[in-house]
């Protein structure tokens, strides 16, 4: 295809009109979600089957297959959308494809069982906006995810893409752009929450050249995947924001740093760059203006700490990704020692919206201190997992119960962790807290990159803190003593407490180390690493004391402190646990209640999982009742439903 370069604002408008005119609103299209989450659930096989089946049924020419991104219901993939009626099908398997073609495509019949089912009510709905969890969301950045083909610039242009760039280049001065960003109150979405406009201005005013702009997509938090999703499913929106930023700041070169684990995101953004260049939206004399800007994709090498801005820049320079002291901001002295403006994927993606709608518009959304929306990935013990976009200031309760559908299996809520592995645990009493940068900080957690992990009564808070300390210990670069050795000692101490080897002075030791780490570590990995530990201590102190003094884990999650025991009154002598036990620790026979020999038991929990009668109990910090008389007969009961 020969491509006509877009050489003016009018060219873009004309080009968009042609794309839209060519579109037939009644064209039958089958859209398949091929982003990472759906691919992991088998989307490529669905796509392949679809192509084959369309060929077989002889309607290949009449139906267009479109590859799209994720609409946020990651766990419900693979997702397939049937146009023009916009019917959303979820959890599609290759064997569903012939039925979709014969019923929905040929006869316009909706297949009930493939529709989205609300976990709370069991009701099925065919359109995305009928899904209950969607109603409380405000989709600004993720609006087009799942609708456009991320590999086609025409799709992005058709939904007003690159209009903001056109406005910025031809109707605004760089200073005016920065003024709008400042007015909008946009704060860095990577988690730091630094005012974006001020960062841009600092880089612009820095007296050194050249200047650089960087997209940080080194999203390393376990359970966070919003940056990946945006870059994968709508790469042009980030690219457009970056080009506008470069123009405002006065940069001619930019980098998109994508972590190694995100191959589809890297591929899609690379395609986006190539297409933007072909159309004259990137490169020399962008859209016929005098502005030149080029961008490179830089792949990371799998280090969590490289998400820290100075470490990321060190990595781009080709050195080991280790943080540097940032007492002189990277906005003044960053990549290759030059002024560098680094922002998160979500920050860049917000820019085009601000340019089009104005800074005041974004400011009107959210709270006074934090404007706009936040994207959270809901994970852990929650019913609806996936990506959600909500206005800043939504309460944790609404986020977890209205959008997330509540705690999985209706267990009792214990805590929620926001902000990734270095975020704090927030207890139930703060569920009505309005989520924004300052409020989360106030209770000892943080916005971070937007991970949200729900923790229920089956999780131990000491063990949860230990888990995140261990993660950060693995990921610490090891450069500074407080972080490297502090995490090492914390990990060992918390491990001991969970194993019932805690000593009375352990809490004091933990507090001393935490004080040192949060004040004296070189970078934010170390200064924030203690959040899970300190909030666990602050809000769940009784669990720590129980572990240390009573050798008891109330959640019965710490293996060393938990014993398994079969209640003779409940056991139906079904032999299942007895057969499944890998260490042959269970004694008994048919028609005789079973008994766990504690000396042989390795506490793997298989008996607990397989028992159909809830006869296997967990005990912690209490004596195991004595063995029932030999040959005791079971007290008969029905199987639980």
């Amino acid at each position: 295809m020969t491509v006509n370069k877009i050489n003016s604002a009018k060219d873009l408008v004309d080009f968009r009109r042609i794309i839209i005119e060519k579109k037939d609103p009644l064209e039958p299209i089958i859209a398949v979600n091929v982003s990472t989450c759906s691919v992991a659930l088998g989307a490529l096989k669905v796509l392949e089957t679809l192509k084959k089946e369309l060929e077989k049924s002889g309607i290949k020419e009449k139906i267009r297959i479109k590859e799209v991104g994720c609409a946020g219901l990651c766990e419900q993939g693979p997702m397939v959308i049937i146009y023009p009626d916009e019917v959303y099908y979820f959890r599609i398997k290759p064997e569903d494809v012939p039925e979709i073609i014969s019923k929905t495509i040929k006869r316009k019949q909706i297949i009930e069982r493939l529709l989205y089912q609300d976990p709370a009510t069991g009701k099925r709905v065919s359109h995305l906006d009928e899904i209950p969890s969607y109603k409380h969301q405000l989709k600004l950045l993720t609006k087009n995810n799942g609708k456009i083909d991320p590999k086609k610039i025409e799709d992005y242009i058709s939904v007003n893409g690159y209009t903001a760039l056109s406005k910025a280049l031809f109707e605004m001065q760089p200073e005016q752009i920065i003024e709008q960003i400042k007015t909008s109150n946009l704060r860095g979405r990577g988690g730091g929450g630094f005012p974006t406009g001020i960062k841009w201005e600092t880089t612009r005013n820095a007296k050194d050249d050249p200047k650089y702009v960087i997209v940080n997509c080194d999203e390393g938090d376990p359970g966070a995947f919003m940056d990946r999703s945006l870059l994968e499913d709508n790469p042009h929106s980030i690219l457009e924001g970056l080009i506008i930023g470069a123009y405002a700041i006065g940069a001619y070169e930019g980098y998109i740093y994508v972590r190694e684990e995100y191959p589809i995101a890297a591929e899609n953004v690379f395609i986006a760059i190539t297409q933007a260049k072909d159309y004259g939206l990137l490169g020399k004399k962008i859209m016929g203006s005098n502005f030149n800007f080029d961008v490179k994709v830089q792949r990371g090498a799998g280090a969590f700490v490289s998400g820290e801005s100075s470490a990321l820049m060190t990595a781009i320079e080709g050195k080991i990704g280790e943080p540097r002291p940032k007492y002189v901001h990277t906005a003044v002295k960053g990549l290759w020692g030059k002024p560098t403006c680094l922002n998160n994927v979500k920050t860049w993606a917000t820019i085009p919206l601000i340019i089009i709608k104005g800074g005041d518009w974004l400011k009107s959304i959210g709270t006074e201190g934090s404007s706009g929306t936040a994207i959270f990935s809901l994970v852990g013990k929650i019913k609806n997992t996936g990506l959600v976009e909500v206005p800043m200031g939504i309460t944790l309760r609404n986020l977890i119960y209205k959008i997330g559908g509540g705690v999985k299996d209706d267990k009792k809520f214990k805590a929620v962790q926001t902000g990734g592995p270095s975020g704090g645990f927030i207890p139930e009493k703060y569920l009505d807290l309005q989520v924004d940068f300052d409020e989360l900080d106030r209770v000892g957690s943080m916005m971070g990159s937007g991970g949200l992990v729900v923790i229920d009564e089956d999780n131990c808070m000491v063990d949860s803190a230990r888990y995140f300390v261990d993660f950060l210990l693995e990921e610490s670069c090891g450069k500074c003593i407080p972080c490297r050795e502090g995490l090492r000692v914390l990990s060992k101490t918390l491990g001991n407490i969970c194993e019932g080897k805690g000593e009375h002075d352990d809490i004091g030791t933990v507090e001393d180390i935490a004080l040192t780490m949060e004040n004296a570590s070189l970078c934010a990995l170390g200064t924030t690493a203690t959040n899970p530990v300190l909030t666990s201590l602050k809000y769940f102190r009784e669990e720590w004391d129980q572990h240390i003094k009573d050798k008891r884990c109330i959640a019965k999650a710490c293996k060393s402190l938990t014993d398994y025991y079969i209640d003779p009154k409940e056991c139906q002598a079904c032999l299942i646990c007895l057969r499944e036990c890998p260490t042959k620790a269970i004694e008994g026979e048919k028609d005789q209640v079973h008994w766990i020999n504690q000396e042989k038991c390795e506490k793997c929990g298989i008996c607990y999982e397989v028992c159909k009668f809830d006869a296997v109990k967990k005990l912690s910090g209490e004596p195991i009742p004595s063995k029932p008389a030999n040959g005791m007969k079971p007290i008969r009961k029905g199987v639980k439903q």
Binding site: P325, C477, I481, R484, L487, R488, V489, T509, L515, N519
Partner: protein, 206 residues
Amino acid sequence: MKTLTLKIDGKEIEAEEDMTILEAAEKLGIQIPTLCHHKKLEPYGACRICSVEIETRGKSRIVAACCYPVKNDLNVTTRSPKIDKIRKTILELAAVTAGEDAMGEMRKLASEYNADLSHLRSKTPIEPTKCILCGLCVRRCIEATWDSVIGFIGRGTKRQITLYPEKASICTICDYCHDVCPTGKITSTGPDPPFPQIDDILAGRE
């Protein structure tokens, strides 16, 4: 060069704008402890023992004096119960790898800050390496040989210093790393450099 005025421990001082707090304090005769710092090398900010408290515009925070550039109206406190506690903990943490019988500057500072070098070590018993990974030898080596013979390998607690095999033959021409080592780990480079070979580390022999 612009001259700036700031306060360190209540004393006013004029400093040049490219100075760090550490250098300005020295001008006043105020000693701030360091382990990873060397006057002739670029500041590195790894040991954090030089942590001091600064106050600007009513907000106070802890920074590393070796890296923090002086600013007008900065109010620096180099000793306080909080700073002493942090330094004591850093020394006790450093001892986890250095060992409770660490010598040199470590020993001196341990007695000054009342640090019990066996306290945290006893909670995490590992084979002492005598090394606190301050990086002085690595940075000194880059300057001495213009092309480092040694470097870091590994991340986090697996971080250690290794000899680059292809350059091993030129290690022994100087003794600079020995001169800067704050723990007495590097005795003398001699004919056998005191650094493990990269192959040994990768094979798990070190």
